[in-house]
Amino acid sequence: MFDTLSDKLQGALDSVKGQGKLTEKDVERAAREIRLALLEADVNYKVVKDFVKKVKDRAMGAEILQSLTPAQQFVKIINEELTELMGSTANKLSFSPRPPTVILMVGLQGSGKTTTCGKLANMLKSQGKSPAMVAADVYRPAAVDQLKSLGEQLDVPVYDEGTQADPVDIAKHGLAWARELGRDVLIVDTAGRLHIDETLMDELVRIRKEVKPHNILLVLDAMTGQDAVNVAQQFQERVNFDGVVLTKLDGDARGGAALSVKAVTGKPVKFASTGEKLDAFEHFHPDRMAGRILGMGDVLSLVEKAEQAVDRKKAEELEQRLRKSQFTFDDFLDQMQQVRNMGPLQNLLGMIPGLPMGKLKDLQVDEKALGRIEAIIQSMTAEERRNPDLITGSRRRRIAEGSGNDIQAVNQLLKQFKQMQKMVKQLSSGKMPKNPFQMLGGGGGGLPF
């Protein structure tokens, strides 16, 4: 079960009934939850302060839309503010009219620079560019070997001078080398360094002067805590980076550091690194990040979509029947069709909280399977749909044949349906969500298939 902010807001605003306005007390209660959620997500506490104030100002006295619960209303405001703070999609690199375009990678130790160099090279390659890389990390044992090994794997040339040369010289020579080779992008890997290490920060400044990068990317671990602000500010002051690569997003860190960095430096996150494989790398989508930071997926758009797709009257009827635990195959079919009206399930899943972005790619939603389920239900008689207990062996065979499926598929569906009925019973004995699709957002039930 997900302990999401939307759940907590629901709890905090439980007492707000009807469609009136939010009182100051409601807003305070909600603000507390928002503050905690952001702090748990590692957003810098000063950034949190400003943000919560903004949300409070907006929420105070705000009209609650008829279609939303107060909690949803809050989620909507937070989502909008967060998305605005994260900025629009400024996730492009700038390319020099006179190649090679130089990209300088900088960051703390262990943030994932070297691997990111490889991933970026891979992405550029797939976009038809001809990248090259320079190994300017002479400090960490075997860092040069690591970049060379990545280069081999990707068939991307790597320039190095071993570990005895000066990184500034290596970068400079590397640029001349790339130009000669006619490569159009040069990625410069640098050693991880602490933002307070004067000598090494100075070295970066000199590399920058020497190779005049068109893009400087700060590689930042998504798990970074409050210190992200110091790190970003220092790197900004010394080398003025252009954007951030957020790494290790395949984990379950909320990644609030991204928000802090954007808030204090104004620099956008451009790329997201989502796995150890070299193609686990993508352009960053700030709208998705807002939901992630709050741990609620894009609940709001889900709510909005549901609002549009669900026939309200039908939903109310369904709710009535659910309350009486009379959930039938007709309802199942109905609900499924409404969900499908909301767009491809793949997209819908992306909005469900708790599913890390990286995992979604592996998650195949079999739209065909949904079609099969529809066909099976449609092959049932009205009587059978209302009372599935009637469906015995011979009827199962008939339904299977009628729908063009084998009997296992029918058995499986019946089993799933039983489970769903059970779930509905549990739900209806407790509190029933007003909108059946909250089951998706709330993470409680979810789809039975």
């Binding site: 905690l36 702090l39 748990e40 997500a41 590692d42 506490y45 000063k46 703390l108 130790q109 262990g110 943030s111 994932g112 070297t114 400090y139 960490r140 044992p141 075997a142 860092a143 070997d145 690591q146 060379k148 090994s149 990545l150 794997q153 602490l194 933002h195 307070i196 671990d221 998504a222 798990m223 970074t224 805590g225 409050q226 210190d227 992200a228 110091n230 790190v231 290790k248 395949d250 984990g251 379950d252 860190a253 909320r254 609030g256 550091a257 150890e276 890390p356």
Partner: protein, 334 residues
């Protein structure tokens, strides 16, 4: 100040000391001082927090500021609440009337939040097997190099096993550390089965009479179920050779890590029974407060602190010193 490492490593000669390498003599400093120096660079924010505290009026705003100070150190909401609650009790009992007392209590309470479990590392078994695990880039390989160097200085004969067969040049990195420290590294080819190389490594240690085997592992996210299973398998492989091993399973946590560190520690603990935590990169400006939460909430002792990239940049953990470095005198605007 040289550390008395025989109080950390059980099984090394009584009173054994580690001398920093020659070129470093000039810069010999205790870890307190190293920590303070690191911390002082970004302490302005904290300092402002404290100076703004008005002591004759312990109002909501006052408590909020204390909270923020802790949150800013990455201590996390739950442990912050717990620390503040205890601080409030002290205040209610009239024990806090000035900033000195506040600081004193804050330090003691924070230090007391660390687990009381044994923070020593027993290397008296023949062989002692130490397994080092953690998320990518947290400092496993470097810390292994540092531990090996210290043990060597203390008269032990460590042997390193390159259990990271996944990341590019991970093997080369450990081999390089082996050269620096002058100890043997057992390794295979990249892409080989980590279980197999660990098996070979421990067998080699037994046949050669190495007394401490330190096993490096690939960085992995705690959310990668298969890779966590792989760790469990490595433990099983180790046990086939030495039934009561690994004697230590150490988790590296990067001091810059925020609240996710707690989840990391919890899941690693569930998978391989962590015996202690090493907090790395304490030479930066991050306060490493997540270590408070990890130690407190999961009852895991902190054992070592990483304070730089060189082999001598390793320190025993000391809760009092940690709290003192976290809440330094200069916070009071001195």
């Amino acid at each position: 100040m040289t550390q008395n490492w025989s109080e950390v490593f059980v099984g090394v000669e009584e009173g054994a000391r580690v001398e920093p390498p020659e070129e470093k003599q000039r810069k010999r400093r205790g870890w307190f001082q190293q920590l303070r120096e690191g911390l002082s660079k970004s302490r302005q924010a904290l300092q402002q927090q404290f100076s703004a505290i008005i002591f004759d009026q312990l109002d909501d705003e006052f408590w909020e500021r204390i909270e923020e100070t802790l949150i800013y150190a990455d201590v996390g909401v739950e442990s912050t609440v717990s620390i503040v609650e205890q601080l409030e009790q002290a205040a209610d009992a009239g024990e806090i009337t000035d900033s000195q007392q506040l600081l004193h209590h804050l330090r003691t309470i924070t230090a007391d939040h660390f687990s009381g479990a044994d923070a020593r590392i027993d290397v008296s078994k023949m062989p002692t097997v130490i397994l080092v695990v953690g998320v990518n880039g947290t400092g496993k390989t470097t810390t292994i190099g540092k531990i090996a160097w210290h043990l060597k200085q203390l008269g032990k004969e460590p042997l390193l096993v390159a259990g990271d067969t996944f990341r590019a040049a991970a093997i080369e990195q450990l081999v390089e550390w082996g050269k620096r420290v002058d100890c043997e590294v057992i390794h295979s080819e990249r892409g080989a089965d980590p279980g197999a190389v660990v098996f070979d490594g421990i067998a080699a240690a037994k046949s050669r009479g190495a007394d401490v085997v330190i096993v490096d592992t690939a960085g992995r996210l705690h959310t990668q179920v298969n890779l966590m299973k792989e760790l469990e398998k490595i433990v099983r492989v180790i046990r086939k050779q030495v039934p009561d091993a690994p004697h230590e399973t150490l988790l590296t946590i990067d001091a810059t890590t925020g609240q996710n560190g707690l989840v990391q520690a919890r899941l690693f603990k569930e998978a391989v029974d962590i015996t202690g935590v090493i907090l790395t990169k304490m030479d930066g400006t991050a306060k490493g407060g997540i270590a408070v939460a990890i130690s407190h909430e999961l009852d895991l002792p902190l054992k070592l602190i990483g304070t730089g990239e060189k082999m001598e940049h390793l320190q025993p953990f000391d809760a009092g010193g940690f709290a003192e470095a976290l809440f330094d005198d200069t916070l009071l605007g001195g």
